[in-house]
């Protein structure tokens, strides 16, 4: 099982879009894929057709206790091999409730260890703020994807994210490989071009080779509640995410054929 987290402390940079598009691609390639929504806003949860205000069990349940019925925490989506651990609005209260309680940053990674034989890929959508949920995601993942909108303000957000990441890695002890993903790239604008150049100059070693272009179909797909790859396999944005996926899969050297696994829940 490979665990990828999508994080950036800035909102609206394409985190949720990245998580659901990669998950859609992976599941249609035949991999059992679990999406985990760690954002109290629950965009990924709503996108997948669940209501974060009324959903019963999900990520929040993991923090409540030890006796967790994984079958009720993990929901089947409308799509084959695509599963969701939903966010609920109550997630917003976790930091208040838990503070910096010892070991509470490892709740997710402990849960994932229990289900490691059931899924091929796990995609974690992170909240845009630093807190116990973000720490859990960064502690549980084997690869971190950091989407950065190609505009100047977003670059400041990236610096903040890198700083946070470095600090967490010191506590986590095992460093995590990460990939910076330029998003909403519009080659006609100077802002896009210049910020991409800035990324190439400063983060060359960890930069994804293809930026994700602006593609209005992402918003439409999100409104329809369907991952874009399931609507249009050849949309510009999907093609770019396919390149990213191949790169990441290559990185983790798991590009070989999927082996069918029955997920019985």
């Amino acid at each position: 099982m490979k665990v990828w987290a999508v994080a950036n402390q800035k909102g609206g940079v394409g985190k949720t879009t990245t998580a659901i598009t990669l998950a859609g691609l992976l599941s249609s390639r035949g991999y059992n894929t679990l999406m985990i929504d760690m954002d109290p806003h629950g965009s990924l949860t709503s996108y997948s057709g669940f209501d974060p205000d009324t959903v019963d069990d999900g990520v929040y349940t993991l923090f409540k206790g030890s006796n967790i019925m994984l079958a009720s925490v993990i929901k089947k989506t409308k799509f084959d091999r695509l599963y969701l651990m939903p966010a609920s609005t109550a997630l917003a209260t976790l930091d208040r409730q838990l503070g910096a309680q010892d070991g509470k940053g490892l709740v997710l990674s402990q849960t994932l260890q229990r289900i490691s034989s059931r899924f091929d890929y796990v995609l974690i959508d992170c909240p845009p703020m630093l807190g116990v949920l973000m720490v859990n995601a960064l502690a549980a993942c084997d690869h971190l994807i950091i989407p950065v909108q190609t505009e100047f303000l977003a670059l400041k957000g990236l610096e903040r994210m890198m700083y946070t990441l470095n600090m967490i890695m010191r506590s986590r002890k095992i460093p995590v490989p990460y990939t910076i993903l330029p998003t909403m790239y519009d080659k006609r604008t100077r802002a896009s071009q210049q910020s991409l150049r800035h990324l190439e100059e400063h983060y060359a070693a960890n930069l994804s080779s293809t930026p994700i272009p602006i593609d209005t179909q992402f918003r439409e797909a999100s409104r329809a509640g369907v991952p874009l790859p399931m609507v249009d396999r050849y949309a510009r944005g999907v093609v770019a995410y396919t390149t990213l996926l191949n790169y990441l899969a290559d990185f983790d050297s798991v590009r070989e054929q999927p082996f069918e696994k029955a997920v019985s829940m």
Partner: protein, 229 residues
């Protein structure tokens, strides 16, 4: 240890604050003092197990079928659990010896982490201790008993080393230490005659000249008057 549980005197430097926060959250509990504690309480459980008395303790913790008021006592005096010989734990708090039946206990924990102070009007409610994902409400039995009359003097001097968890582990009382597990026979107990008032003070163990506590009654009592309940 949770350094955020107490009000810091000064605000930490930005980077130090973050590092301490991450270190705490990502602390591998298998090497922490909590784990040490659970290790110890496991060892204690092992010893109890060897004495063939763990069964009832676990039974209470898992099933925790509360008695109904009618079932709690066979006669007006004797609780059901005391009609046959029963294992009990001798402990001391502020130097005062007391006995509880093992069957009513959940676990015994070394008190190393600080108890989180929770504001309340009751001197006997000491606060909350995070333990294995639970928030244990911590009680000072001596202060609870001393509420009426000043039977216990110099309460402040004592150092509590242990926390005895009762019920489903959501309550616990502090004690100086636990000293031994032994069998009590119903005949060794002088039962109190007045059950209407502080029924959790069940009787006196004549041989040890100490009070026998009934934790079922105790939990009923503190759930009724506790600020945290």
């Amino acid at each position: 240890m949770n350094i955020f549980s107490e009000q810091p005197a000064v605000v930490l430097e930005h980077e130090t604050a973050l590092q301490v926060y991450f270190d705490a959250l990502l602390q591998d509990m298998s090497g922490s003092i909590y784990a040490e504690e659970s290790q110890k309480s496991l060892i204690e459980e092992k010893i109890l197990e060897q004495n063939n008395i763990l069964g009832p303790v676990i039974g209470i913790a898992e099933g925790s079928a509360p008695f109904t008021v009618n079932e709690r006592r066979v006669s007006s005096k004797v609780p059901t659990w005391a009609t046959t010989p029963f294992q009990s734990l001798l402990f001391s708090t502020y130097g005062v010896k007391m006995v509880v039946p093992l069957i009513q206990l959940h676990s015994i924990v070394n008190l190393k982490a600080p108890i989180k102070y929770v504001p309340s009007n009751s001197a006997w409610f000491m606060g909350i201790l995070p333990w294995r994902g639970k928030h244990v409400k911590v009680i000072d039995i001596c202060k609870l008993m001393a509420m009426k009359g000043a039977e216990f003097k110099g309460l402040e001097e004592s150092a509590h080393k242990r926390l005895v968890l009762i019920n489903d582990g959501s309550w616990g009382f502090v004690c100086d230490d636990v000293s031994k597990v032994f069998t009590l026979y119903p005949g060794q107990i002088q039962w109190r005659s007045d059950w209407t008032h502080r029924a959790w003070l069940a009787g006196t163990v004549i041989e040890h000249m100490c009070t026998l506590l009934d934790m079922d009654e105790f939990v009923l009592h503190i759930s009724g008057i506790s600020p945290a309940a």
